[in-house]
């Protein structure tokens, strides 16, 4: 389990994060979402043992981070947002170096990852493209089959095909009971693979819950075609373009709206869930 409770980190007088709380259980993926500078990386840096918090607790398997990180490092896999490995090393040398840190590396799984991700072994790391560097970062984070995965914007620079492969790998780790923290500002991928979310804004968690509950918080968009508009619909927020009325209806008012709508005359309706991006912008207003 990863548990973050009232976590606080200040850089001098500047707030990094304040009262950050979330919990990730076994076999769960939590999406830590927020724009750049919101505090995602600060939270991750405390969990990975780089920074000491000013207050609060960050626990991985009940070990207090960063103070007890050495007791649990073997079980942590980390993909950094910006991949900086040793430029002059060939990838195969780097993988050999990476192996030296672990007691047991399943070489068969390593080979499988190399093949799945299409990693070029004979190139120097500095000669790789951003996407290929990211693939190596994925491999070094997963190869020891970690129980805890901390992923900081892991799909940056990956092409859609490799992204899909990556999601599948992460899902497999999840099925094997891994606890996964997935930091991202790409909400569509959070929607695709996460079970829950914690939305961070200016260092403070503003919303937490399941991905579904996040959608429920928002307004649905209802497209009504060829509507004969009546006064009963005036109380709802809408826009009109050509012969289409678009109503923004909160989930808890949906029933009332549909009753009012049925009393009128229209050709067709379409109900759309907003994309997470829209929800994100809404919450960030």
């Amino acid at each position: 389990m990863i548990k973050v409770k009232n976590l606080k980190k200040y850089y001098g007088k500047n707030r990094g994060i304040e009262n950050v709380n979330f919990e990730i259980k076994e076999g769960e993926i939590l999406g830590l979402i927020g724009p750049n500078g919101a505090g995602k990386t600060t939270t991750i840096r405390i969990l990975t043992g780089f920074l000491k918090p000013n207050d609060g607790n960050a626990l991985i398997s009940n070990f207090k981070m960063p103070f007890e990180i050495d007791k649990i490092k073997e079980k942590i896999g980390y993909i950094p947002g910006e991949v900086n490995f040793y430029g002059d090393m060939k990838v195969k040398e780097f993988l050999e170096f990476n192996r030296s840190f672990y007691k047991n590396i399943d070489k068969k799984y390593e080979k499988e990852l190399i093949e799945i991700l299409g990693i070029e072994l004979n190139k120097k790391f500095k000669a790789l493209s951003l996407g290929n560097k990211k693939k190596v970062a994925i491999l070094q984070a997963l190869v020891h089959k970690p129980k805890y995965l901390i992923l900081d914007e892991p799909t940056n620079g990956l092409d859609p095909l490799v992204q899909q492969t990556f999601y599948e790998l992460i899902k497999k780790h999840k099925e094997n009971g891994s606890v996964i923290l997935f930091s991202s500002h790409v909400l569509s991928e959070v929607e695709k693979i996460c079970d829950s979310f914690a939305m961070i804004k200016e260092g403070v968690i503003v919303k937490t819950g399941t991905i579904e509950s996040l959608k429920d918080l928002s307004k649905k968009l209802i497209y009504v075609y060829n509507l004969k508009f009546t006064d009963s619909l005036e109380k709802y927020t809408y826009t009109k373009k050509d012969n289409v009325y678009v109503f923004e209806i909160k989930s808890n008012r949906l029933k009332n709206f549909l009753s009012d709508l049925i009393a009128t005359d229209f050709y067709d309706i379409e109900i759309k869930n907003p994309a997470l991006e829209d929800i994100f912008l809404e919450l960030y207003k």
Binding site: L51, D70, E74, I76, P80, F85, E96, F97, N98, Q140
Partner: protein, 266 residues
Amino acid sequence: MTLLKKEIKYTFKNLFIWVLVIILFNLMFASITDFITKQNSPFTTFLEKMPDTFLKAFNMDISIMSRPEGLFGSEGMTFMYIFFGIFGSLLASKLYASEFDNKTIEYLLTKPFSRKRIFIHKLFAIVFDLLILFGVFLFSELLFFKLFVSGQYSNKILFAFSLYLFVTEVFFAFLGILISLYIKSRKLTNSLLLGILFFMYFASTVTEGVKNTEFLRKISIFHYMPIIETIKNSKVYYINSIVILLISLIFIVFSLYVFQKQDIKI
């Protein structure tokens, strides 16, 4: 490949070049020593006309210039002190500051290897390189003197030179580690270390014999490993060397403490 092996491999090319330079330098000096000492008389006459302060500033003393190790001590050691100081400084910043500069420290710290072990593996790699350079200097110095120098010389004094150079490289390497952990930039660490090295060297030589700048000499490690006195009195300054090594050790203990406790901001 462990971290220690990686670091030794990483510094191998540099070490090889430095080793080559040291061997060639010793070869060159040893091979011209006989020639110069035989023509020493006009040079000594010339030096006698120079003010004492001027001679001290250039690490010269008339009484030792006619001796083979005196010539090496006066001329060669000036370069060697600076060479070894630079080698120690560059090595420390290459292994420590560059991890922060290149942000590779992020990778290392997330691997199941404690900060203490990372520090110690890197330190061992540095000590290994320092010992190699010291060994190469001592061996090539003794060998080339034996091969090329026909006049009388003292192996004890030649050993003292090697010891002083080892102390110098250790001091600057260990100081470099501490500075690297604070500054975290290779270029800035190098600049600062080279500044300290040149300041210390020139503070101990240029101000020699000038009373009102005596305090500057006292803060220089080179003041405590005096070449002229070593040759003149045939005395190796072991205690001073050990004290400087102990100060260097304090840098290491403090650096380890800093590295274990500090926030790593990348």
